[in-house]
Structure formats: C-alpha cells, structure tokens
C-alpha cells in the first residue's frame, strides 16, 4: 500500500487554517475584553442621551449684549474684550448687519459654522458620549464636532491646519468634560462669523470648554477663548441647552434642498428666490458693500 505523501502545500494550508482560527479566537477574545472594558468605562461616564435645544436666541454672548432684540436687530451688540484692530472689524460687521447685508457664509448652505458657533445654533442637538470620543451633533448643519477623549493630544503644529471646527481633545473631571480646541480658521476673509451680529475671532484662537449638566438639568457649556490677535483678555461665554421631551426625534437638515434665501457673497445681500426660481426682491438701499 502506498503511503500517501504529505503535500507540503496541504500541510501549510492546514496550518494556515488552524492559524487563522487561532487568530480569530484571539481577536474575538481581545474584542470582547476591549468591549467589556469600553462598556465599563461607559458606565462611569455621564448620561447625556436624548435631545437638547439651546436656551435663548442666537446672540452669542448674552451677558455682554447691548440693547434688546435678536442677533439681527440693529443696535444689538456684544462686548468681547477686543483689541482695537478687531473692535474695528466687529464695528464694520455690525454696520453691515444693520443694513441687512452681512455676508454670513452660514446662509450659503454646506459650510460648517464651526467652533464656537456650533454652540450657538437653533434647532436641536445630541451630545454623544463614548469611551474614547464625544460628538457634538447639531441638527442645523452640517455641524459635527469630534472631541477625542482617549488621552491623545493635539497633533504637532506642523501636522495640523485650520478647519472650521478645529482640533479638539478632552478629558473628564468627574461629570465635566473639559475640551481644548485649536487650529480654527478664524474670520479672515469673512470665512466664518461667530454669530449673525458679525462677531469675529482670528486663527490664533484657542478655547477651553467645560461641559456639564448643571443643577437645573440643563447642559451648561462654558467657553473660555483666548486669542492673541483678537482679544486683550480671555473671553468667557456660557451657553445652556435644555433637554427636550422624551422621544423627540432629530431629522436631516438638507440646507440646499430648497434654499430660497442665499447670499450674494460680493455684496452680502440675502436675496429671496420666488417659486419660479427668479429673484423677487430688491437689494436694500444704501448698500455700502456693493459700493466698495
């Protein structure tokens, strides 16, 4: 009887299959362990589930507001501790706002409002806490802010570039999430505004944000901004968000679905499109922007 000669390829193949099975088992076990560890970590984290909505209008710093009204009301302004250069920039934007021609990129749809404006939006929010990241998810968007809480730091300066939301890392101090944010676009070239009054920051802005559920049940977000170019001193703003009724749903915010109020970036004019797709209104009188 001829003995069957072992085929080295078969042996290798069998070994490979066994090795793969062993690999799967190790991976599965590790996954379960990691998963168990993650869930244990989750249990120690605060419950920020549900849907939240900002309390008050979209004036960013209500504590320093002058005048009554909303962020588009002429005469309403805020008082960040601006340097003279940035006070002049803000004053110029206020003048455009008063004429209804502040070229706010938010009206273009598709561009994130970024940080810190992500904490100054209408519509609702979700604050998703996971063991290694926290996500600020604003329905009004596109606006998602990712905060890495896995112990990593910011990338080295040479490995980062400005974005609308910046780079955020965080850590937990009890039930308070402490976020450090850098690498923001700033408001140069009108790229972004902090709110509709025309508040601006520079690309040197750095923020420490403290988020916690306050005694009144609201999410309290205290933002401390330093900005060597724009501010003479740190600017502290506190926003509150109220938990919405159980079962509240969040929907798509398809801003370009039927945007009948785009802006003309060259003049800042927010125009109105009629049902036939044509512009139906008139540019405001005294349109200083168009004369520049």
């Amino acid at each position: 009887m001829r003995r069957k000669k072992a085929n080295p390829l078969s042996i290798a193949s069998a070994n490979s299959r066994a090795g793969r099975r062993l690999g799967y088992l190790v991976a599965l076990s590790a996954g379960l362990l990691c998963s168990a560890e993650s869930w244990a970590q989750s249990a120690a984290l605060p419950d920020w589930s549900g849907v939240w909505a900002m309390v008050g209008g979209t004036v960013f710093d209500r504590e320093t507001q002058t005048g009554e009204g909303r962020s588009t009301t002429p005469g309403v302004r805020e008082h960040p501790p601006y340097t003279p250069e940035y006070e002049a920039k803000y004053a110029a934007n206020l003048a455009l706002r008063d004429q209804g021609i502040l070229p706010d990129p938010n009206s273009l749809c598709g561009i994130p409002t970024g940080f810190p404006r992500i904490f100054n939006l209408p519509d609702v929010y979700e604050f998703a806490v996971t063991p290694k990241q926290v996500w600020i998810v604003a329905e009004n968007g596109p606006n998602v802010m990712r905060i890495y809480t896995d112990g990593r730091g910011h990338p080295p300066v040479e490995d980062r570039w400005p974005t609308h939301t910046g780079d955020s890392v965080g850590h937990w101090e009890g039930d308070t999430l402490v976020i450090d944010t850098v690498s923001l676009h700033g408001s140069e070239q009108g790229r972004t505004f902090v709110d509709r009054t025309g508040l601006v920051l520079s690309d040197a802005a750095h923020a420490v944000t403290r988020m916690r559920v306050a005694a009144n049940g609201n999410m309290e977000v205290q933002i401390t901004i330093d900005d060597a170019k724009a501010l003479k001193a740190p600017w502290v703003v506190t926003k509150q968000f109220a938990r919405q009724a159980e079962g509240t749903r969040v929907y798509d915010y398809a801003c370009n679905e039927n945007n009948r109020n785009p802006i003309d970036p060259s003049t800042g004019w927010t125009f109105t499109i009629g049902p036939d797709g044509k512009i139906i209104d008139q540019k405001p009188a005294g349109d200083a922007a168009s004369e520049q």
Partner: protein, 125 residues
C-alpha cells in the same frame, strides 16, 4: 370678489415667531407690521432650510398674486405637529405675515386661519 387684504399695524409689538432665524438673516422682514391676506393655498413646500407656504391672492386689480410665506424648518415644525398635509392645495385660507420691507409679495409666516375657524401657527400676533 377682490380678496380681503388688510394691513394691521401693531406698533412696538415684539414679534416672536418661529420663522426665519436659523439659516439666514431676517432683516428683510417688517417685524412691526402684520399683513393679513386671504386667498387659496397653492403649495406647501415642506423643505429645508425653511418651509414656504405659497398662497394665491387676488389683488384689488383682480389679478392673482402668488405670495411666498416663509416659516421655520420642517424639522422644527414637524416636532410641533406641523405636517406636509397641514396646508392642502386648493384650500381657502387667511394668513398673517410680517411682509418684506421692499413690498415684494413675500413675508415671514405668522399664522393661518381656515374657513372652519381652525388656526395654525401664531395666529394671535
């Protein structure tokens, strides 16, 4: 019959409507003025970033004018019980709006009243 078209002035009235405050400036609206229009619903655009109620109004010259009335986002309104079916096309309706400053046939929607007396939105402005 020419449609009823009344201009109601509420001097100093603070208008707290759930209209165009999110996506764009609302500086184009005359917030101290409430205009009342009666006509027929042409379309309710239940779309982002804002909903639009299109109403055909017969002017004093007998010609039909289509008004564009802007309201909140479908997301905000949907959570408040408003649906795409809230304004059936062809239905007679009276609406109240903060009209645009420049006289364009458009405005910020405040509220509506149907023939059976049912109201939608902030009719009491």
């Amino acid at each position: 019959m020419a449609s009823a078209m009344r201009k109601l002035m509420f001097a100093g009235l603070a208008v707290l409507c759930a209209s165009a405050s999110g996506h764009h400036s609302d500086a184009m609206f005359e917030h101290g003025t409430v205009l009342e229009l009666t006509g027929k619903i042409k379309e309710f655009q239940f779309t982002n970033p804002h909903t639009w109620l299109q109403v055909e109004v017969i002017g004093e010259d007998g010609k039909v004018v289509e008004w564009s009335l802007e309201w909140g986002s479908p997301n905000q309104l949907g959570r408040q019980g408003i649906r795409p079916s809230t304004f059936p096309p062809g239905t007679a309706v009276t609406v109240r709006t903060n009209p645009m400053k420049d006289g364009t046939a458009a405005g910020a929607f405040l509220g509506a009243r149907f023939a059976d007396g049912k109201t939608v939105g902030n009719w009491q402005q």
